[in-house]
């Protein structure tokens, strides 16, 4: 089989000669995308004709832990983590700013590391743990960084704030918040068009000096 030659991961290979795979495509199409799937394309996939059509049709299973809860989703390979969080999971705290990795508004943690969710394909987060701004507070108790942003007025319009806070928490956890200069450098991936930078730096310094635990 072609995919054996490629050494592909068995779970995610898209070999249409594999009957279980075929039935998955058929089933998932029937279950989740029946209204969107032209009958001819479904037939093509069933007859394992054109792998490009299959690629277009196919949603892949995505299992990831988000804010402590395990989720099983079915996503297109092209869907970014940002779009999955916002559009599929209603976690709209994570913001879409530039959508091109230039502003940092979409910053989330994947396995504890801050990343731009707009440039992360959701399918590549399979099996990982994601933390968004919604996952920082413990019930009604805000995370120290959230408290500090309130205390120091670390925002004006607030659009960049979720990304700033996720980045700020990582900045301290990484050990890159030892001076104002270092904080500015290690927060440079988060743009604030309102210019709340001095207050953001103060908020981070405050949390750092208060001994926030990772």
């Amino acid at each position: 089989m072609e995919n054996e030659k490629f050494g592909m991961d068995a779970r995610q290979q898209t070999d249409l000669k594999d009957p279980s795979r075929r039935s998955f495509i058929k089933q998932s199409s029937l279950l989740t995308a029946v209204a969107l799937t032209p009958a001819t394309a479904l037939k093509a996939a069933e007859d394992h004709l054109d792998e490009q059509i299959a690629g277009v049709l196919e949603k892949l299973p995505l299992r990831m832990e988000v804010n402590g809860e395990m989720h099983n989703l079915s996503v297109e390979p092209r869907a970014t983590l940002l779009d999955i969080l916002r559009e599929e999971m209603d976690l709209t705290g994570t913001k879409k700013g530039c959508d091109h990795g230039q502003c940092g508004a979409c910053t989330v943690h994947v396995d504890g590391q801050r990343v731009n969710s707009c440039l992360t394909l959701g399918i590549m987060v399979n099996g990982k743990k994601v933390t968004t701004i919604e996952g920082l507070a413990k019930g009604d108790v805000l995370h120290p960084m959230q408290e500090a942003f309130l205390k120091h007025d670390g925002f004006q319009c607030g659009y960049c704030t979720p990304g700033q806070i996720m980045s700020a928490v990582a900045c301290i956890n990484e050990g890159h918040a030892n001076s104002e200069g270092e904080i500015r450098e290690y927060m440079s991936g988060n743009i604030c068009r309102c210019g709340a930078y001095p207050n953001i730096v103060n908020a981070i310094m405050d949390v750092k000096n208060g001994g926030m635990e990772a």
């Binding site: 592909m8 991961d9 995610q12 091109h100």
Partner: protein, 326 residues
């Protein structure tokens, strides 16, 4: 974004077979590729995810420091061996992108990133790199960010990497695997000049993948510096950058390595200037002379003539930092 097939490779051989097929690209960090796909600059039919392959290690071998192609930029920058043996590389990595992007971007991906030329990114504009034969929008356009060395009538784009400038300066080699087995390239021979084929950024052949880079031991750790000049202090591509490494013994330069970023289609290594510094004392005058020598053959376009002054000034300043004069 055009839909594509997503497959995951579980071996190098699997990757090589997969990418030998047209329309297939490797994805690792995705920080550049996903952006290019969103903009329609590239539209692969299939992506091969290689992030699970065991190519992340950073360790000492008989040939020097070995860094796997999948080592993250943030990890390499903080790695104790890198910081101790090749601080120039750590400095260059930290000068690139943002902490979030460095957490995603890999060494191999950094080498494979495309130019940030705005005409390459704008699919409404002509670009010989994106669409061969359509012309170059930058040559008669807004070319402030563009090259002053090694340009051609087809393309004046620059390679955007900082990491690659340091690796070029440090005599690194690239270990490549392909359908015919493994081979090794000098890092300075990995990327290419645009010439008649600006669509080709490097010398990887069809079906080849980067496995690792290796940096030979050197005496530069004490006297090296990466200086990046940009429009803002952080999180911006270089107007000009300089990787400078000196081996200074008893007040005399015994060895020198110099490479520039932001000035050419590839990291611009300054072999002649390096030779000219040997046996000299690390003084401001000698560095200024070396900087002037570096500018031989430079050619500016309408909006980037400032680089003709900025580049030598940056070289001199980087050498001063490296030698401890600043």
């Amino acid at each position: 974004m055009k839909q594509f097939q997503y497959v995951k490779a579980s071996s190098n051989a699997g990757v090589i077979t997969a990418i030998s097929k047209p329309g297939t690209k490797i994805i690792a960090g995705g920080t550049n590729l996903v952006d290019l796909m969103k903009r329609g600059v590239t539209a692969p039919d299939r992506l091969v995810d290689i992030t699970h392959l065991p190519l992340k290690s950073i360790n000492i071998t008989g040939k020097g420091l070995h860094i796997g192609a999948l080592a993250l930029n943030s990890v390499v920058a903080e790695n104790a061996l890198v910081v101790e043996k090749h601080p120039l590389l750590a400095m260059a990595l930290k000068a690139g992108a943002s902490p979030q992007l460095r957490n995603m971007a890999t060494v191999g991906g950094n080498m494979m990133q495309r130019t940030r030329c705005t005409y390459f990114y704008d699919t409404a504009m002509p670009c010989n790199k994106r669409a061969p034969g359509t012309g170059c929008g930058a040559i008669g356009g807004i070319n402030r960010m563009h090259a002053i060395f090694g340009t051609s009538s087809k393309c004046i784009a620059v390679h955007p990497s900082d990491m690659c400038v340091a690796l070029a300066a440090l005599d690194a080699t690239v270990i490549i695997a392909g359908p015919k087995g493994q081979r090794t390239l000098q890092f300075t021979e990995f990327h290419r000049l645009p010439g008649e084929h600006p669509e080709l950024d490097n010398h990887l052949a069809t079906g080849e993948m980067i496995l690792s880079v290796e940096i030979p031991d050197n005496n530069f750790a004490k006297n090296s510096y990466y200086l990046k000049v940009r429009d803002r202090q952080s999180y911006a591509f270089a107007l000009v950058s300089v990787a400078a490494a000196l081996d200074i013994q008893n007040g005399v330069i015994r060895g020198a390595r110099l490479a520039m970023g932001g000035v050419a289609h590839k990291p611009w290594r300054l072999f002649e200037v390096e030779k000219s510094l040997i046996g000299k004392k690390p003084t401001e005058e000698n560095f200024a002379q070396a900087a002037q020598l570096a500018m031989q053959g430079a050619k500016a376009y309408e909006y980037n003539a400032f680089k003709l002054k900025l580049a030598p000034a940056t070289i001199a300043e980087a050498l001063k930092h490296a030698s401890g004069l600043v």
